[in-house]
């Protein structure tokens, strides 16, 4: 039961490692950007999981409802900001890949490195 209770945290750790592994092992720059997105999503999941309170609902105050337990809204707000940062990073990364493709005609890291060495 304890293992299942920590299910989200396991998913966080596994996703984080999948992202990091792919970042290191993949040569294709677009795949690297995808790996970066997975890596960052893992952290989003971590923050959202931590904000959950048992029996808690969305933190909206309603008329006539008292003694309601709410989940912590702050990590969710933080992650909203972090998602924006993540999207900007992905967009900028892809823009650089497009420029790289224009200049080198390839999106493979090792081929670009080889061309840099020659010049």
């Amino acid at each position: 039961m304890k293992l299942l209770g920590l299910f989200n945290y396991w998913v966080f750790a596994v996703l984080l490692m999948i992202g990091l592994y792919a970042l290191i092992s993949k040569q294709n720059l677009v795949k690297k950007i995808m790996a970066l997105a997975i890596f960052q999503s893992a952290v989003f999941l971590f923050f959202i999981t931590m904000s959950r309170v048992d029996e808690g609902t969305a933190p909206i105050i309603q008329a006539g409802v008292a003694n309601q337990i709410f989940s912590n809204p702050l990590p969710q707000v933080l992650i909203l900001t972090a998602i924006v940062v993540g999207i900007s990073t992905t967009a900028l990364g892809l823009a650089i890949v497009v420029r790289l493709h224009e200049e080198y005609g390839t999106v493979e890291d090792d081929e670009i490195l080889a061309m840099d060495r020659e010049s």
Binding site: L36, Q40, V43, T81, T89, G93, I96, L100, S119
Partner: protein, 497 residues
């Protein structure tokens, strides 16, 4: 409240709000002028804040009137003021000296966008220095990093693109690690405010999440700060960036990451984790030492002046990390002084390189042979800043090396080997700088032409003011000393001898 009370907020708002205006100007020269004025205004604000810090101190600024720990607070102490001076000074130096060079590197059509990105990077770096809570530091760090990637990739050299891609990947990993660490701390303490965090950590001391958080934050920031061997993004990014951008980022971007590292490890963890100073010392000092020695040695074998100086930067980051890792009052003083003095020396050196490339067109050694005879003024300034980098008495670099050696000698047992490593590395610095100086004065120019060709007078004046600042702060080091003293006292809260 009068306007003077809003200085910490203005420090971020001025460059951030000028950035979109600059983009609207649609003209390269006007955009440059706008960016320069905003950067000068930020520099002025940083000086006002420094005066206030050294005087009565700057009260905590509650954003929008929401009181901390719930609202966003901005804090300015001696260490922040030092960083603000560095960041705004480097930006002004890069913009003022970079006009001619940037006109060549950047399309006139794209120039307004470029200067907009420059101001956003400046706003982000200033934001890190004034922010009083961990999450705002993350956001500002990403703002400045994203803008810096754009600046580096903006030039004409296509190798900058692959360099910046690597920087983007590693920088994002660093920032994400930092965010994970902040998440663990938030989970255990329920706060993001640095001061509040330091108080509340006492209740959850020595729990596993906090130790893991300390690890994630330290590694993440070490990636951003390019502590050896996490420096692999740095040399290529510095080398292929437009020259004016290198002046800006080489002087301050890695130091800002060290600033956050100091703030977290000493402001927050040090008083709470029992074994923190031992763990941090054991982790950072071997890395710092290998950086000091290996990066200096690698610098000797470079054939490109920018790459040589970039590897020298990795070695200098090693000195700063070594001083910070000592976990003593004297060590922290030395770390902050060296941040200031190295930024001064490296800013001047890269500005001289900018002038060399402006007249000769390339930064490779073979192309710069005999440059000392063709551009004597610029080369003399290069030598002065180089002496400061080595740490010759009478220059700023000597002051911080002296403090570093005194701090290291205070370590029981391994003071002497550490001092020997520092001296050896300084000698290596003499070797790699001498290689260039010899080539510049005695080498034969590639086309045999030894006629004079100096850069225009305004740029030469700027280079010389920067070089003279290296001597001034070597003879009259009161300002950085006072700031470092005040910063160390706030960081430690009187905890260390």
């Amino acid at each position: 409240m009068n306007l003077a009370d809003h200085l910490p907020a203005l420090q971020v708002i001025v460059p951030l709000m000028t950035a979109p205006l600059v983009i609207l100007l649609r003209n390269g020269f006007l955009a440059w002028l706008g960016a320069l004025l905003a950067s000068l205004a930020s520099f002025g604000l940083a000086i006002l804040l420094t005066v206030a810090v050294l005087g009565a101190g700057v009260p905590e600024y509650a954003m929008g009137g929401w009181q901390p720990p719930f609202g966003i607070s901005l804090n300015v102490d001696g260490l922040s003021a030092l960083m603000l001076l560095l960041v705004t000074g480097a930006s002004t130096l890069g913009l003022a000296g970079g006009r001619l060079s940037l006109r060549r590197d950047i399309d006139n059509r794209r120039a307004p966008m470029f200067y907009g990105a420059w101001l956003i990077a400046l706003a982000g770096l200033c934001g890190i220095a004034v922010a009083g809570d961990a999450f705002n530091v993350f956001v500002f760090m990403e703002i400045s990093s994203l803008a810096t990637y754009i600046l580096i990739a903006a030039g004409r050299d296509r190798r900058a693109l692959s360099a910046v891609f690597k920087y983007l990947i590693i920088g994002t990993i660093g920032a994400t690690f930092y965010l994970i660490g902040v998440g663990f701390i938030y989970m255990m303490t329920g706060t993001l405010n640095f001061a509040d965090m330091a108080l509340r950590l006492g209740d959850v001391i020595e729990t596993r999440p906090i130790i893991i958080a300390a690890g994630f934050i330290t590694i993440g920031l070490a990636l951003k700060a390019a502590v050896f061997p996490l420096h692999i993004w740095l040399p290529r990014a510095y080398t292929y960036a437009p020259n004016a951008v290198t002046v800006f980022i080489a002087a301050c971007s890695t130091k800002v990451a060290i600033y956050v590292l100091l703030r977290f490890n000493y402001g927050v963890f040090h008083g709470n984790l029992l074994a923190h100073s031992d763990l941090f010392t054991v982790f950072i000092i071997p890395l710092a030492l290998s950086g000091i020695l290996l990066a200096s040695a690698i610098a000797i074998y470079q054939g490109n002046i920018k790459k040589m100086l970039a590897f020298s930067s990795v070695a200098q980051i090693g000195y700063i990390a070594l001083a910070a890792g000592l976990a003593t009052h004297a060590g922290l003083m030395a770390a902050q002084l060296h941040m200031f003095n190295h930024a001064l020396a490296k800013g001047t050196l890269f500005l001289c390189v900018l002038a060399f490339v402006l007249t000769t067109g390339s930064a490779s050694f073979s192309n710069l042979a005999g440059i000392g005879r063709r551009m004597p003024w610029t080369m003399a300034a290069f030598v002065i800043a180089g002496l400061s980098l080595v740490g010759v008495p009478g220059t700023a670099g000597f002051v911080s090396k002296w403090y570093l050696i005194v701090a290291v000698m205070g370590m029981p047992g391994w003071g002497v080997p550490l001092v020997m490593a520092i001296i050896l590395s300084s000698l290596l610095a003499v070797v790699y700088l001498w290689r260039f100086v010899e080539l510049a004065y005695y080498g034969q120019p590639p086309d045999g032409d030894v006629s004079r060709m100096e850069v225009p007078l305004p740029l030469r004046t700027l280079i010389w003011s920067a070089a003279l600042a290296n001597i001034y702060f070597g003879l009259v080091p009161q300002l950085p000393l006072a700031l470092a003293e005040s910063g160390t006292t706030t960081l430690l809260g009187g905890l260390l001898p």
